[in-house]
């Protein structure tokens, strides 16, 4: 049962990364690729109906984490206190950047919110990668299951490391470049004309960087947390996850070059899902490693809620998610196709 909930939360986070990932990537790229007001409206029109729903996957994942693994939720949210608060503020900034822009028809007003959208999206992309980096590297969990991390200490991967060290910053760059490429693929798929060409070029610039930094992070992970490979040795079928990630990266490079934007977008989605699934597979059953002593690491078993609640949860969660997937299908079908020159509402 706890394994099932571990998969559920990994699934929700992966869906979040793929869906909100293209919103964030669009935010990273839009200043560079959308040159005038009309094009900026198209960028916002391409993500406008979706971004709020996409963000809900993060909230729902957080709520589900609280419900299924209360101790993990309590320990990680209090330990990552400062970066989480900053993520909250950045989520607000990004959301306001998208929603405020069209309310006042003045170029300075629009420029300001375009900037807020870009800054919020860029920093969020880096922070989300750094967060993943912290989970892989481990945090100074004590015997009581709690810790507190400052934002940075010496930028080395020591037991008393902060949120940001060279490894987590590297993961932040992996995330930034991956999501920028992903957002470029999405925008190229949803737009036409000059904007589409520039979105494609944006993806072309960021994809090789995503490939290079991912390879670097892979090597670094092997040094920092070599035991991440143990599960792959014990259960060789798990290799499909990294292989899917690698195939996704090849697809990103190939289809972007061919100008097949839909397949490029599906490839970047596969890459994100593959990399996250590989990480989850490698860490299991640990959910938050301790950098002090492996015995203090939090595992699915030590943090899960009792079986009765989890059993009831799987019933309503399945119903709720099936309905939610229905909404999303309907929403994406309703707003399918390319965005016009002056999309409604933006």
């Amino acid at each position: 049962m706890t394994i099932l909930w571990f998969c559920v939360i990994a699934f929700m986070l992966a869906v979040y990364a793929i869906l909100d990932g293209f919103d964030l990537g669009a935010g990273v790229l839009h200043i560079g690729i959308a040159r005038d007001d009309d094009e900026r409206r198209q960028v916002l029109g391409a993500i406008g109906p979706f971004w709020d729903g996409n963000e809900v996957w993060l909230l729902a994942a957080g709520g589900t984490l609280y419900f299924a693994f209360p101790l993990l939720y309590a320990s990680s949210f209090s330990g990552f206190y400062l970066p989480l608060m900053m993520v909250l503020w950045l989520l607000m900034l990004r959301g306001l950047g998208i929603e405020m822009r069209h309310h006042v028809d003045h170029p300075m007003w629009r420029t300001f919110w375009d900037g807020a959208f870009a800054v919020g999206s860029t920093l969020l992309s880096v922070f989300l990668g750094a967060a993943l980096g912290n989970v892989v590297r481990g945090v100074p969990l004590g015997a009581d299951g709690y810790f507190f991390e400052p934002l940075w200490t010496s930028f080395t991967v020591e037991p008393d490391a902060g949120i940001l060290d060279w490894f987590t910053v590297l993961m932040g760059v992996v995330s930034l470049s991956t999501l920028a490429a992903h957002g470029g693929n999405y925008l190229a798929m949803k737009t036409a004309g000059d904007l589409q060409r520039r979105a494609r070029r944006g993806a072309r610039l960021w994809t090789p960087l995503a490939a290079a930094t991912s390879a670097g992070a892979l090597v670094a992970t092997s040094f920092i947390r070599p035991e991440i490979w143990n599960n792959f040795g014990a259960e060789p079928w798990g290799a499909i996850f990294p292989l899917a990630g690698a195939a996704g990266m090849c697809g990103m490079l190939y289809f972007n070059g061919k100008g097949d934007d839909t397949r490029a977008f599906l490839s970047s989605s596969t890459f994100i899902a593959g990399m996250l699934a590989s990480t989850a597979f490698g860490l299991f059953p640990v959910v938050l490693p301790s950098s002090i002593d492996a015995r203090y690491s939090l595992t699915v078993k030590s943090t899960a809620a009792p079986a009765y609640g989890l059993g009831i949860g799987i019933v309503w969660w399945t119903i709720g998610i099936v309905i939610a997937l229905g909404y999303f299908t309907y929403l994406f079908v309703s707003f399918r196709g390319k965005v016009g020159a002056r999309p409604e509402g933006y």
Binding site: L59, G63, F77, L84, L91, H103, V104
Partner: protein, 444 residues
């Protein structure tokens, strides 16, 4: 440690109170928009549709701020109240996760269709989208109330591993008797807020001699919805919620009412200031025996005062609790009076020209926000010194690893950010009101 506790409480109180200014309007206005669209559909009256479009613009702004200020609430259980979360997460994690899965997806998916999809969907499907957004916000409210009700009156739990509590009965958690009345009381309060905002803006248009067809519609709709919801808020929901407190948290009732000494035939205090040193109420104005009657339906019934309980079980801030409760009740009475007078004028067909009445309606819009906030403060201050009533005290629930300095840093951050958001919100709402209902175009 004391500092950290105070800062954790202040941050949660500030972010929660500020946040709830928005959802209460979302939930109340959502219902009124559905009503307007229903009338438009039934009577094929384009004026009502245009009115719904105008309110949808304000709804959208309000909803957006509600969402961005709501995200920190979901996070702060873990960031600031980690020991509480690991203690109670096995129980209330259920309802919080259900809110995410059942309400947030629904609202966020259909909000876009509701705001931008009118032409695409056609009138009937657009009505359905409006209804689903409204429904989602009420589902969201339900799960939050069930969560809070469990903290007020824990049910359906059993002792779990490592001193935590675990869910024993899902049915008991959702069917918590406290939750039912708290939910209805809360939702009628939200409709009061929505009604007063609608009536207030209608009164403004009438007083300013502009958009008068809309002004009349808003005043009419707001007053009728306001009267119905204000009456329901007092009775049966407020009355029943009061009895929940009287029977399950008697010490809270004593503190709310400012009843220091146990008394047969206890009076209902209207005005007065609690003096905690002398353990008495200064300058009291009261209705004799009324509290006994309202609580037990007997004029001579004994009501236990604070002296009947050990001092370490008293709510920690009795004067504030007492004032919040009296502000809520006083304003609630005022709402019934204003809307009843307004509906009387409507029936006499004199409401739209009665300028003093319109001025009162115009200026009344902040008070439902104050009453709802005071109501929640009554609930939360009344629960003290407990975080989970009778099970966990508030100081035991904080995040032990988060220092006072870090909490102050984020509290200041929230103060600054929320100030900016509030200013932006007001500017844009005033701009929408100034532009007027006739200019609210499709899909904007």
């Amino acid at each position: 440690m004391e500092d950290a506790l105070l800062l954790h409480r202040l941050q949660f109180a500030f972010t929660a109170s500020y946040h709830y200014l928005f959802p209460q309007l979302t939930m109340g206005l959502g219902l009124i928009i559905v009503l307007l669209k229903w009338i438009a559909l039934r009577r094929r009256d384009e004026l009502y549709n245009q009115a719904a479009r105008f309110w949808a613009k304000i709804f959208a702004l309000n909803f957006a701020v509600g969402v961005v200020t709501g995200i920190p609430m979901e996070f702060q259980f873990g960031t600031n109240w980690a020991r509480f979360s690991s203690y109670a997460g096995g129980v209330i994690g259920q309802t919080l996760a259900m809110e995410g899965v059942f309400a947030f997806f629904l609202e966020s998916s259909f909000l876009g269709l509701f705001l931008f999809g009118e032409r695409k969907l056609g009138p009937r499907l657009h009505f359905v989208a409006a209804f689903l957004v409204f429904f989602g916000s009420w589902v969201s409210g339900f799960f939050i109330i069930v969560t809070n009700a469990w903290m007020q009156h824990p049910v359906g739990y059993a002792p779990g591993p490592n001193g935590t509590v675990t869910l024993e009965s899902f049915g008991a958690l959702l069917g918590n008797p406290w939750a039912l009345w708290q939910y209805l009381h809360n939702m009628t309060g939200a409709v009061v807020t929505g009604s007063f905002c609608v009536a207030s803006i209608g009164a403004y248009y009438l007083l300013a001699h502009r958009d008068e067809a809309y002004g009349r519609m808003f005043v009419r709709t707001g007053l009728i919805a306001g009267l119905v919801s204000s009456v329901l808020m007092a009775f049966p929901t407020g009355d029943a919620q009061g009895k929940n407190i009287a029977f399950n948290q008697p010490v809270t009732l004593a503190a709310m009412e400012g009843l220091f000494q146990t008394k047969e035939g206890a009076p209902l205090v209207l005005v007065g200031q609690p003096d905690m040193d002398k353990k008495r109420l200064d300058n009291p104005l009261h209705v004799p025996r009324m509290l006994s009657f309202l609580t037990y339906y007997r004029w001579g019934a004994e009501v236990r005062g604070l002296d009947a309980f050990p001092a370490d079980e008293w709510p920690t801030n009795i004067p504030l609790l007492y004032y919040c409760y009296h502000i809520m009740v006083g304003l609630g009475t005022l709402f019934i009076a204003i809307t009843a007078a307004g509906v009387w004028f409507l029936l006499k067909k004199r409401a739209y020209g009665a300028r003093p009445l319109l001025w009162i309606i115009l200026l009344a819009f902040p008070f439902p926000f104050i009453a709802n906030t005071a109501g929640w403060m009554t609930a939360e201050l009344g629960r003290q010194p407990w975080l989970v009533y009778g099970l966990m005290r508030t100081p035991a629930g904080t995040s032990a690893t988060v220092s006072a300095g870090n909490t102050l840093f984020t509290l200041l951050g929230f103060l600054g950010l929320y100030f900016v958001i509030g200013v932006l919100f007001l500017i844009l709402v005033f701009k929408t009101i100034a532009a007027g209902p006739a200019h609210a175009a499709h899909g904007e």
